[in-house]
């Protein structure tokens, strides 16, 4: 029996729909498995104790699972990274889209792509052999494996995200708007910082959010350069001391934990927290991006 053409087309559409629905299923499964594997921890300790615990001694007797040092470790490294990559990234994006000629911009963009392409373990290795010894010498530290080293590396790694998305946003500002400003006798810079950048601000903010997401989620690089000491970092002197991030903790300890132990569950809880944090950041970035860029107002 020949398949009815209309029926066939319909069947194809259904198959295609289900392939794209796979993404939703995956996201859903990630939630289930992460929360599922993590939940058992809270038979032993309360969620609040976990969140506010100041000590992460998973192998001591009795073990202590306090998220705070890890969370603050992630926080301090990320804050440092953002301080480096936002000014550098936004300035580079402005340069590429507003100052460089088309030819120069075309030459610069591959560099940004290279920056995005380098694997994180290579960044980590570079940090290990170049940044760390130099930091140690330069700042006269007992060890170069510090939060600062992590911030520097993550700052660089967040650059491509920030540059390419900001650049898209800035180039999307129509040229007639810029001409309007120049025709009033504004300099190019006045036009950039009073008209173009404000008009692109929602896109730039989204770029920064995604850059933050990238920094928080990065694992190998921080693990290789931050020293991984799970103590609550001071501020701002914590930058010059070793720290341990949430991601590094998972990667470092998962290999050694017995499956089904509290420690194992605790690592899944950290993963779930990371998932929720980056999910929130993404949702914020999406909602900023969706706001029509010219509704910025004053």
């Amino acid at each position: 029996m020949r398949m009815d053409g209309k029926f066939k087309e319909h069947a194809i559409e259904t198959v295609l729909l289900s392939t794209s629905a796979v993404t939703v299923v995956i996201l859903f499964l990630i939630c289930i498995f992460l929360f599922g594997e993590g939940a058992a921890l809270f038979n032993e300790i309360s969620f609040f104790d976990f969140l506010s615990g100041k000590f992460w001694y998973p192998t001591s007797e009795p073990p202590q699972f306090g998220l705070l040092p890890l969370f603050l470790g992630t926080l301090i490294v990320t804050v440092g990274a953002i301080c480096i990559s936002v000014p550098l990234g936004v300035a580079s994006a402005i340069f590429i889209s507003e100052i460089a000629s088309a030819k120069v911009a075309g030459m610069l963009k591959p560099f940004i792509e290279i920056l995005a392409g380098v694997p994180s373990v290579v960044y980590g290795f570079f940090g290990l052999v170049v940044i760390i010894p130099n930091l140690q010498k330069l700042l006269n530290l007992p060890t170069g494996q510090t939060a600062l080293a992590g911030s520097i590396m993550l700052g660089i790694m967040a650059l491509p995200t920030i540059i390419s998305i900001s650049e898209d946003a800035i180039s999307a500002v129509p040229s007639f708007i810029k001409e309007g400003s120049l025709a009033l006798g504004a300099t190019r810079w006045q036009t950039i910082h009073r008209v173009t950048v404000p008009a692109a601000l929602s896109g730039i903010s989204a770029a920064v959010m995604l850059g933050i997401g990238r920094a928080i989620g990065e694992t190998m690089t921080v693990m290789m350069v931050t020293g991984n000491t799970a103590i609550i970092p001071g501020f701002p002197d914590g930058f010059l001391a070793p720290v341990r991030t949430m991601t590094a903790t998972i990667a470092l300890e998962m290999g050694e934990v017995p499956q089904g132990s509290d420690h194992y569950h605790a690592l899944f809880v950290i993963g779930a927290m990371l998932f929720v944090i980056t999910l929130l950041i993404n949702l914020i970035a999406e909602s900023i991006k969706r706001r029509y860029m010219f509704k910025v107002g004053s």
Partner: protein, 259 residues
């Protein structure tokens, strides 16, 4: 090309042997013209003949186009604006421009007007308020927007946006206003409002307008220049151009026989 202006009218802009190329495209050929002060001068001509290119020469907006090269002189009040030491930023302050498509900034109405004075150093809030009100009044927009100065300019209608752009130009106190097809995106009512506005403004400003609308050129302009394929074919009083054009091609164009 020179025309005898009416008694007491001086030359505001004098263009001498202006040539312009986009890469190899010779877009303006040996243009020479004198534009009178405190009058409306209209540029007409078929699409692609170089009207926009020419009007953009008058405040050096073409500098922004990378492969664009200019030769010749443009004297504004006797001073050649293509001299090396000329401050382009200051030139554009003196020679304002309104574009075909209304292009208000994505800011409030107030901020749009205050933008120009601010970048030129005005920081006094009272003074800015005053400028905003004055210019909106002279652009015949005040009554329509005075109660919502802080709402986004992009919420205005197209015609209102265009008048806002004119007001924005007035706010930097230019001597000359260039308008490149300011009404082509507007409905007839908005168009006639802008025409009225131009008639009013010509008492204080030298106005140059590009238009595709023959009636508009005939209605508002005092002097009219006809361009064809990058050349200035004919320049004269509006009455002369529209009633007894000297050139055959001018006549064909204004009578719609152009093809």
């Amino acid at each position: 090309m020179t025309v005898k202006f009416e008694e007491g009218i001086e030359t505001e802009i004098e263009v001498r042997d202006l040539n312009l190329w986009y890469s190899d495209n010779h877009a303006l050929k040996n243009i020479s013209i004198e534009i009178p002060e405190k009058c409306i001068t209209a540029f007409i001509g078929p699409s692609g003949c170089g009207k926009s290119t020419f009007i953009r020469c008058l405040n050096r907006m073409n500098d922004l186009i990378t492969n664009c090269r200019t030769e010749g002189k443009v004297l504004v009040k006797g001073e050649n604006i293509y001299e090396k030491e000329v401050d382009v930023v200051n030139l554009r302050k003196r020679v304002g421009m309104v574009f075909q498509k209304p292009n208000p900034f994505p800011m409030s109405i107030y901020e749009n007007i205050a933008y120009g004075p601010r970048i030129h150093g005005e920081r006094n809030k009272k003074k800015l308020d005053q400028i905003v009100e004055e210019t909106l009044r002279s652009a015949a927009l005040w009554d329509e927007v005075s109660d919502r100065l802080n709402s986004p300019a992009l919420d205005l209608s197209g015609g209102q946006q265009q008048r806002l752009c004119i007001a924005r130009t007035l706010a930097v106190k230019p001597e000359i206003i260039l308008l490149d097809e300011p009404c082509s995106a507007l409905d007839p009512i908005s168009t006639s409002k802008i025409e009225d506005l131009m008639m009013k403004l010509k008492n204080n400003y030298t106005i140059v307008i590009v238009t595709h609308n023959m009636q508009q050129a005939a209605r508002v302009s005092d002097y009219t220049a006809y361009f064809l394929l990058g050349e200035l074919i004919e320049f004269g009083t509006a009455r002369q151009i529209f009633e007894m054009p000297r050139e055959k091609s001018t006549e064909d164009y204004i009578t719609g026989r152009f093809g």
